[in-house]
Subunit: 156 residues, 3 copies
């Protein structure tokens, strides 16, 4: 494996669904294991991933997702989102994925930096006390871009 | 703040919803304020952001988005999308976000380059006269990749 | 055109809808024509793009997408997804886009590397025999990040 000392990965997480929370967490974790610096920036719906009351009850929504094979008129029926979420949790457990809150803690403990978007906080009336303890701070877009200098950036 | 003279940010905007229009605009604006070169490339549903008849009436759709806390069978009821869009506009005004068209104009005035995807134009039967005056030109994927050389690229 | 010998594009494809399959394929193809190395990594719903039974029947879902101009209570009616998919196929044919499977083959023949995500395979109970013959291998997140060293990375 090459030396990743100067490598940096900056991940913008803008979605709050269960299925779109994991790609960022998995990539952040893999990068940290390889010695790559990780900066995670949570904004818009991604705020749910760092919201301490919400992060462990993210949902997977089958409506609008043809990969489930479920027609929309069925997927929109009450009860289908909880059922699809339950099935996804089983799949995630099967491959030993930790729950979202625990995964974030692991990433933070491994040296990953966790940032909340100031604009999203203000728009959604969130207070710092709403956020998980792993959040290192609330920053603006310019501060994030400053941290992301020289990084490979992903927008999820 | 470091010298960002050689830094470039290329943003591909492929979504046409109100909530997914702002992340690209906010990042482009922040980058320009930091002296970073900005190339924005609009394609697929993102064409609505540069469509002069559509850019100021983008919608936020609560269906399929569990972050709103609204069940899908309610979110799909007629009138819910306009209501959710109105609420998001209030949130955006509260944090002093300009309307989409005005924001694009600010970005262009600050030196950001705005490109429309040729394939999307052809696929959607769009004419150059449908586009906002800030659009600098219609380019193909290869031309965009050429401009994005050395850039940090985001796909939104 | 500049020399792109050292340039690399790594594309993570996480969506399985028809409209979100094409941006990755178009960019990969354009990059290869410019002499840029291409690594495509398929994960989550993007697995459908490399699934040999599914890749040529991807769907475009109008629910939740206001760019279609179709209200959600209409878009969710049975028959609307097939109709919208058919219309998108017409648009794609008009601009000479090959079908998904053929496009992937072209990209592979032009030297693009196609990788399947090991975690997604395990989570979705997929076997290697389910995958299109163009897939070069099944890799984990760390292996992908290793290949993506020095690349511009897109998350689609």
């Amino acid at each position: 494996m090459s030396d990743n000392e100067d490598r940096k990965l900056a991940i913008i997480c803008s979605k709050g669904t269960l299925d779109m929370a994991y790609p960022g967490l998995v990539l952040a974790n893999a990068a940290l294991m390889m010695g790559i610096e990780v900066e995670m920036f949570f904004t818009f719906w991604g705020m749910d991933i760092i919201h301490k009351e919400k992060q462990n009850s993210l949902k997977f929504v089958p409506v609008g997702n043809p990969s489930t094979g479920m027609p929309n008129f069925i997927a929109a029926i009450p009860g289908m989102t909880p059922m699809a979420t339950k099935m996804m949790h089983k799949g995630l457990e099967k491959i030993d994925m930790p729950p979202v809150g625990e995964f974030l803690e692991m990433i933070h403990d491994a040296g990953g930096n966790i940032w909340a978007c100031r604009m999203a906080m203000d728009m959604m009336n969130l207070k710092e006390s709403d956020l998980a303890p792993e959040v290192d701070g609330v920053v603006g877009a310019m501060e994030f871009l400053e941290m992301a200098e020289g990084a490979q950036i992903l927008f999820i």
